[in-house]
């Protein structure tokens, strides 16, 4: 079912029409071996408009990955709710949601091509349809020349790109990305960001991107959610006001510096807190 079946074009986005709606979301990990329970996240609220590019920044350990897991339906919330396209998310990953994890999750026994084709093959997509889609995804992440290589022959950053291709090839309507460019160098990171923006424009997908890079957040996003130290909550949500048709050349825009400065002002205090709290 397409997005447009539910969200009439031209209508302003309300809480009902939000692509993703999060209310009072909290995650408490039960303490193992006599340790006290740990509140990792929330309570927090969040609405993502259809086709929005939303980034999350926050100090290490504040619960960003935990948030992504719950949004994806991969782990349960302790309290609160998540809805995706009007349906509650729980237990299973809904159709139309794609996830790229922070950790390398490429399948070592499959070639780059077969990794990227994995999801489509499970759906029994005919090989004639599958091939162009996989090739397109590999071109997008710049690994066309490595289609027959195995993950063990690639660098960490290349493997992460394989995982991105494996997710994008499914054409998800909501893409959850956890630090996907973490292992890339600055230049590749910028170019991959441009590719992601292009794909985002072409597919109309909603994107939630978790990143440690303030520049990346400032360049790519419509809105940026700044999280507090654990338990993570949004302490600021910054609207960038960028045009939909944008790319990394924005880095020269005077507005760009103002946004990163604002994120850093919010984040500095929280990062210090998180560092002091770290064992």
């Amino acid at each position: 079912m397409g997005l447009h079946a539910q969200i009439p074009l031209g209508e302003p986005v309300t809480a009902q029409a939000a692509h993703v709606a999060v209310r009072g979301l909290t995650r408490i990990f039960p303490g193992a071996n006599g340790r006290p329970p740990l509140q990792a996240l929330g309570p927090l609220d969040l609405d993502l408009a259809p086709g929005e590019f939303f980034s999350v920044v926050g100090p290490s350990g504040c619960g960003k990955s935990t948030l992504l897991d719950i949004l994806a339906g991969l782990s349960p919330a302790s309290a609160g709710s998540v809805t995706f396209e009007g349906k509650p998310v729980a237990d299973t990953v809904p159709d139309g949601v794609g996830v790229v994890f922070q950790e390398d999750s490429s399948f070592p026994w499959l070639s780059v091509f077969d990794n990227a084709a994995f999801g489509l093959r499970r759906l029994k997509t005919p090989e004639a349809q599958l091939r162009p889609r996989v090739e397109e995804a590999l071109a997008l992440i710049g690994l066309s020349d490595f289609a027959s290589a195995f993950p063990a022959q690639l660098s960490g950053g290349m493997r992460q790109r394989v995982c991105i291709a494996r997710t994008l090839v499914m054409r998800p309507r909501l893409i959850l990305l956890d630090e996907p460019f973490g292992a890339l160098d600055q230049q590749t990171k910028l170019l991959m960001g441009d590719e992601l923006l292009r794909l985002w424009r072409e597919t109309g997908a909603t994107i939630l991107l978790i990143t440690h890079s303030l520049d990346e957040a400032a360049l790519l996003s419509d809105r940026i959610g700044v999280m507090s130290a654990r338990p993570g909550r949004f302490i600021d949500v910054i609207e960038t006001g960028w045009a939909r048709d944008r790319d990394s050349r924005l880095a020269a825009d005077p507005g760009f510096g103002a946004i990163t400065a604002r994120i850093w002002r919010q984040l500095r205090e929280e990062s210090l807190k998180a560092m002091r709290a770290a064992p």
């Binding site: 991969l74 299973t92 399948f107 070592p108 026994w109 994995f118 499970r122 022959q153």
Partner: protein, 249 residues
């Protein structure tokens, strides 16, 4: 040939040469040990005469049957233990001490149960082998990185698809080792059983030759057995090495 391969061939050739010389020069009594060249001619004679062909085939068929049963049952038990962690925790002490019990003590029992035919041999080999496969399987399944299971869930795979397309290939190196061990154990089980009590098979023929002082025949048969087992293992080993090379840097 690689350096290691050359060295290996050299060592084997030197050992055989030394043994040959020792036998020929009378340092080793002819009746206890034939020179390797005589073992080889005897093996060749055994193979060409056809006199032992039936026994050789019967032993291999029994080993193949027992190994197949062990792989299937061991794998199934592995899946069960993986799916039921509580059962696995209960079974862990038994699995850990399983090979402390010499399973050949059950051979007479199997003869009573099945009669004096090939089935007690299959049974004793099975009992000896299938647990190795079960342990290798469950260890393999548990070694799968959790992130790969999360990936499977994020791609909306069913339980069966996850097992078939993620857990099995991720655990493949372990499963392969399990199969290799199972075949070796099945060989040991069958041949040892034939040695103890049987009316046919390679093990029986070796024991028979020994008892009737047919030293040349005995060594010829032993050589055939050793060559067969080593060949099977080398094939599996080289396959395993190739598999490993692809998965790691």
């Amino acid at each position: 040939m690689t350096r290691a391969g050359l060295l290996r061939t050299g060592i084997i050739a030197a050992a055989l040469g030394a043994l040959e010389a020792a036998c020929r020069l009378g340092a080793i009594d002819r009746f206890s040990l034939s020179p390797p060249s005589e073992m080889a001619t005897s093996a060749l004679r055994i193979l060409t005469s056809g006199e032992y062909t039936r026994d050789i085939l019967v032993t291999f068929a029994t080993v193949a049957g027992a190994a197949l049963l062990s792989v299937v049952a061991g794998f199934a038990l592995g899946v069960l233990l993986y799916r039921l962690p509580r059962l696995k925790r209960a079974a862990d002490p038994f699995l850990a001490s399983y090979y402390a019990v010499p399973s050949f003590i059950f051979y007479p029992l199997f003869i009573v149960l099945f009669g004096l035919n090939r089935w007690p041999l299959v049974a004793v080999a099975f009992v000896f082998a299938f647990v190795a496969m079960a342990i290798a399987s469950v260890d393999g399944f548990l070694s799968v990185r959790p992130i790969l299971l999360r990936t499977a869930a994020s791609l909306r795979l069913t339980r069966m698809e996850t097992l078939r397309h993620v857990i099995l290939p991720a655990a493949a190196p372990y499963l392969f080792t399990g199969v290799k061990l199972t075949i070796v154990y099945a060989f040991i089980g069958v041949v040892a059983g034939e040695f103890i009590l049987s009316g046919s098979g390679l093990g029986y023929r070796i024991a028979f030759a020994y008892q009737s002082f047919e030293t040349a025949t005995m060594y010829g048969l032993m050589l055939i057995l050793i060559c067969a087992v080593v060949t099977v293992n080398m094939l599996l080993w080289s396959h395993e090495k190739r598999l490993h090379a692809r998965l790691t840097r």
